[in-house]
Symmetry: C2
Subunit: 338 residues, 2 copies
């Protein structure tokens, strides 16, 4: 028996739908979540694909999720809309809010979507991509659970605090990046711990703030580090402030304190900013697009990769050929319906 299971993307989606329905989540949310997980699997971002069903069901079993809550949108101004997820997952809140955000951005040139009280398990790039499809540039950020120390410190204050950006391109896929402001994903450090390998320098510190390459110490008593030293640490601080207190929502420290037990999806807020280029430039849009293409080609032309290229290549392959997922994961997912 092969240790992988081959699935078409329709089968990936169907499996996610079955599991989520089994757990009594409201249907609109089931659809939104399955779309996000299928996109992750399709782009071979396996950690944000079907694997996330395990995390989501854990959150459900921990009683953190209001599974029939519908997101409620509130117009705050001509350019700001807030959506309260009421302790359901974020994807439906984003779907409801992004339609309003796009409308606002098309009227005011710049607009913001605030998502509050959402359980968050997804990558940010599917959301960024959706906004670029409406011709918008997008900037998205969220806090998470505190596990990352500030530069020069020793105690966790920040989450892995991802930031994502998208730029629409006239022909083909948008320019998109989506990265954690931690030096590395927490899951990656956990993989080192399981396999007993030594961490590279720069990923973590011990309880005294000294550089530490022991994964267990970093995870249990020490802290992770940000990427890029004090500059990465400053960015992580900005994400805490803009996607936490600015939104009237939790910092990573507050989110961890609220949850107590780790393992599920953290609850917090999310900030989405959209820019409609038509209001920003006084030139012919074709000139601006050409200038942006020249920049991106100058990067690619010297052998450097653009951030999302690997995902787009995986996407083309998955759409044509389906995906293989680990049999052990597939078994674990089926067991979620026992």
């Amino acid at each position: 028996m092969s240790n992988t299971v081959h699935l078409s993307l329709d089968e990936v989606s169907a499996l996610a739908l079955r599991v989520l329905r089994h757990h009594g989540i409201i249907e609109a949310q089931v659809q939104a979540m399955a779309r996000v997980m299928t996109a992750g699997e399709r782009d071979q971002c396996h950690s944000h694909g079907l694997f996330r069903l395990l995390m989501c069901v854990q959150s459900l079993r921990q009683g953190k999720v209001v599974r029939d809550a519908l997101p409620v949108a509130q117009h705050r101004s001509a350019a700001v809309v807030a959506v309260n997820a009421h302790c359901n997952f974020s994807p439906l809140a984003f779907e409801v809010g992004s339609a309003l955000l796009i409308e606002k951005a098309h009227h005011t040139g710049i607009a913001a979507l605030v998502i509050n009280n959402c359980l968050h398990f997804s990558a940010l790039w599917p959301e960024v991509e959706q906004l670029t499809q409406a011709g918008l540039c997008a900037l998205i950020m969220t806090p998470s659970h505190a596990c990352v120390a500030p530069a020069g410190g020793k105690l966790p204050v920040f989450g892995t605090n991802p930031i994502a950006f998208g730029w629409p391109r006239a022909n083909g896929h948008p320019y998109v990046f989506d990265f954690a402001t931690s030096a590395i994903a927490r899951g990656e450090i956990d993989l080192y711990r399981r396999s007993g390998r030594t961490l590279p320098e720069g990923w973590g510190i011990d309880e005294n703030g000294a550089p530490c390459t022991d994964a267990a110490t970093v995870l249990q008593r020490g802290a992770m580090l940000t990427f890029g030293g004090y500059k990465g640490s400053a960015l992580a601080t900005m994400i805490e402030l803009l996607a936490g207190p600015l939104l009237g929502d939790l910092t990573s420290t507050e989110s961890l304190a609220l949850d107590g037990r780790p393992g599920g999806a953290p609850r917090h807020g999310e900030l989405i900013v959209a820019f409609d280029p038509r209001f920003f430039s006084g030139r012919d849009p074709a000139t601006d697009q050409a200038s942006a293409e020249q920049l991106l080609q100058a990067i690619r032309g010297q052998g450097a990769r653009l951030p999302s290229e690997r995902r787009y290549a995986a996407r083309a392959h998955s759409i044509a050929h389906g995906v293989d997922i680990a049999r052990a994961l597939h078994d674990d997912i089926l067991a979620l319906m026992d």
Copy 2:
């Protein structure tokens, strides 16, 4: 004779005013530029203080500056205002535009200021600070002259592309950062070249993209690197796109090509985004401020410094005691009026 000259802040300002007036710049611009330079000297950011007079006069002598051009503001929407500096320096364009930006942000919750065709010599933190004084969060970015290679590449594409952020605090100075997305300032590498010292690893590459610690090679044939590897490189790309083609203005490569000769202030655009917290949070503002303070205290409480603390300490000292500037610099500045 001492090799420094002691000046009160009024004397710093008066010196800047004299030099700028001597060169025939329009008075409103003279005032705006002197304020920015005095602030730099006051906060002991000497590279953005009176020293910048040399760069500005070089730009004037190169014929790059339209010294009597007044900035022209254009409402693009309820939330976007664009100011054309018409090839004069940026400070007056910011002063004109920021008043309109603040008004818009107070009405729409989020707003943007586009500055086009400005000669840029200043740090971004004085502008960030001014917006926090109006109770706004601010995010500012600009390209510059191309001298930084993308991660995995070998040819300069990005400028040092600074990004700055500010968060207003109820009591005391705002939280402010302002950093280049290059690993280090270009001027710093030049200091290594002058003194024949070897560069630290990670600052630059040679013409083949190999790590290089020879300052002259990095500056003349190779390229500088971004901070934070591929993540810093992605941020630098975002700054190029958002503060270049989005605004209908120049990328760092286009700015360098336009100028031809280096040495003066680069001409390009600037993007300023302002957030009014009152539209983003559904909670009592005092709760949000307390939550933000808890975050910032958690950083400081473990011995990590907040980004602008050194500047604020220098400021208090300079206001009370004045500043000392190098006599050689003082002589060079006086010679600008010969």
